[in-house]
Symmetry: C2
């Protein structure tokens, strides 16, 4: 039989990165292509202790195995609100929180709540590939906004707000994927001002904000949102465990309510065992202490990559110098085509992601994203040496 797929999915045939991940799953390939948290940072011991406590008493487990409510297991939203207070996100109630199946589900549900086919959404250039895919699945009109070293350009943002009347603006203001850049406080305020003047909702995606290993913290945009224009979307994937698929969104109650209704028709609720593990983990005050333990791991790896870039990459390679998160972004000023070079890198058993996949349109061909979080300093050194040879 022939199948007539929806307009949105008919044209989607998997991403370039999917194929890359197949190549990089071989252990002999040193991969800077992924976006995994450091394996050594995963709190295996603490989560195992909690799980062992749970399952030691099977009668207590029964409730964890039944259906639960869409919003999140009882008490979990309160724990989440307590946990974001030190970021400056205060004055929120449980009506402002939804537990999601990973942070990405928060993004998807916001699209579901707001977007009709053809609706415009503004994104930074470049931006998170996964969200570009999500926007495609809603048949959205994705419009890129230019950015400088501090994030999205205000003049271009205003121009595109006027021209496209977007419903949503998508930003990763802290340690952006793919660039690692952080948007400073004053610009955050100016973006909020512009967005509320034009009636656009800011989707503040913040999976990496806690992973700051140098410099001064900048408050999330949600912490300075006085008019209900920001929805804060975050995740425990980079701070506790990605496999558990648990995140949360914080926003105006009216929006959270629509997202909750959307979630009912999608997966009903997030896996209860994942929620119980993470709730107990935070209650036991493992959250910040384990992040503190893991930051030197990230810093050491990032430093290893920065040093190796200096040593092995050509002078034409200009790159970011992030203060946290998982990624370094680089561009070849001599116009080197990073897609064309990819087979040479794989031949030398090292992988990256070509920059062009992070753009909705007018992609830069001379850029790449390097991930430093999931390889040891020794493998980073060896991999960058090989990469330097591939690009020479």
């Amino acid at each position: 039989m022939d199948y007539t797929f929806s307009k949105a999915l008919a044209g989607m045939n998997g991403t370039a990165t999917r194929e890359i991940f197949k190549l990089t799953s071989k252990p002999e390939v040193i991969s800077f292509a992924g976006g995994l948290p450091a394996g050594d940072a995963l709190p295996v011991q603490q989560l195992s202790e909690i799980a062992s406590e749970f399952f030691y008493d099977p009668s207590a487990v029964r409730g964890m195995l039944q259906y639960s409510v869409t919003e999140g297991i009882p008490g979990f939203r309160e724990v989440v609100l307590e946990q974001v207070k030190d970021l400056g996100i205060i004055g929120q109630t449980v009506e402002n929180v939804l537990i999601t199946s990973g942070g990405g589900q928060g993004l998807d549900l916001l699209c579901k709540a707001f977007l009709d086919p053809g609706d415009a959404v503004l994104v930074e250039r470049p931006t998170f590939l996964g969200f570009l895919q999500t926007l495609n699945s809603y048949n959205a009109r994705t419009v890129g906004v230019e950015a400088d070293e501090c994030g999205i350009d205000l003049a271009d943002l205003e121009g595109k707000l006027l021209e496209y009347h977007p419903k949503l603006i998508y930003l990763i203001p802290t340690f952006s994927n793919p660039t690692g850049k952080t948007c400073p406080l004053e610009r955050r305020k100016a973006i909020i001002e512009l967005a509320s003047r034009h009636g656009a909702i800011i989707m503040e995606d913040d999976p990496y904000g806690r992973l700051r290993f140098s410099g001064e913290a900048v408050a999330p945009m949600k912490a300075m949102d006085e008019r209900g224009v920001v929805v804060y979307v975050s995740s425990f994937s980079k701070t506790i465990s990605p496999g558990l698929r648990c995140g949360f969104s914080i926003g105006p109650s009216e929006i959270i309510r629509k997202m909750t209704i959307g979630k009912q028709g999608v997966d009903l609720h997030t896996a209860t065992l994942s929620q119980h593990l993470i709730k107990r983990y935070i209650e036991k005050e493992f959250f910040l202490s384990n992040i503190k333990r893991s930051l030197p791991i990230y810093k050491e790896r990032k430093d290893a990559m920065m040093n190796a870039i200096k040593r092995y990459m050509p002078d034409s390679f200009k790159h970011t110098d992030p203060e946290g998160g998982l990624f370094i972004w680089g561009e070849f000023m001599d116009g080197t085509d990073t897609s064309a070079k990819f087979p040479f890198a794989i031949e030398k058993k090292v992988a990256y992601i070509q920059g062009e996949v992070f753009y909705a349109e007018n992609a830069k061909k001379n850029a790449l994203r390097l991930n430093y979080s999931n390889e040891s300093p020794e493998r980073i050194e060896a991999g960058m040496k090989a990469l330097g040879q591939a690009f020479s």
Copy 2:
């Protein structure tokens, strides 16, 4: 700020059942409103043993906490295919399977893969409320097809295939929600014949099929699908644990591929710990043995409800007599309005779901759904006595 939601979600403000569940969450209310598997049927002991084994060796846990692939953890799809062979679903490969976050996600991803706004979908009258909501979220045109005691009416089905050119036909052929009815073999074959002639995909939702406590098994429609017209959507929610949110879909590889791409943009993958628990549980051959242990629980409760109906409900109440699953459906031949009667039932501390919510249009006002799986025989007896009084 004012929010302009998507056309699909603007009109959705939560369901009637949501409010009912708030009322019925009080322990003094005997609830026939839900759709939970019997608490006593949950394999608490076995899952606890497996989890304890996992977490006894934290180093083995590390892999379970990282990201995984969208299709399902390694080896799990093979286990699922092995597990459905006794249903007659054979000759499938891993390319035909997707692990989903509950069975409901399979339904949602099929909608995402196929539906543009306004596309028609045929559903049985009455049908699963949750799927009607999902269809609303896609702005689908939902068209009800009449049914008799054996399921969907073939003449009406053919007429509506001709009139509406639907992309999808949604059916729960075994122990339907909300009616408990099962569609016999010959009619299943005739439906497949009609669907393939008109180029419509059959979504065969089968969460309850394993819960047969009397009568003869009928093969799933997928088992007789020679032309790739059926996608089989199922779940471990009723057979292992709903809280783990784990299900699977089996269909033509081209469709499964589109669903996989859709899932990437939704939740990336199903919680790995849930997948590992269920995979090991099936490998240890707990699956069929625990279902066998649980069937007498379901039968006892269903019998208790049937007996109590005879004793306490008025003669005008005509109802189904299911051979498995969770639900009995009844209609008052004297036209009693079940929504109007609901406050009287709640006053007597018993709850049900009014039948009208299970229709997309032209709802029957004189019907109700009774769930027998999650109350003890004693409470079923007491609750039905109270219900009889409310309806007298």
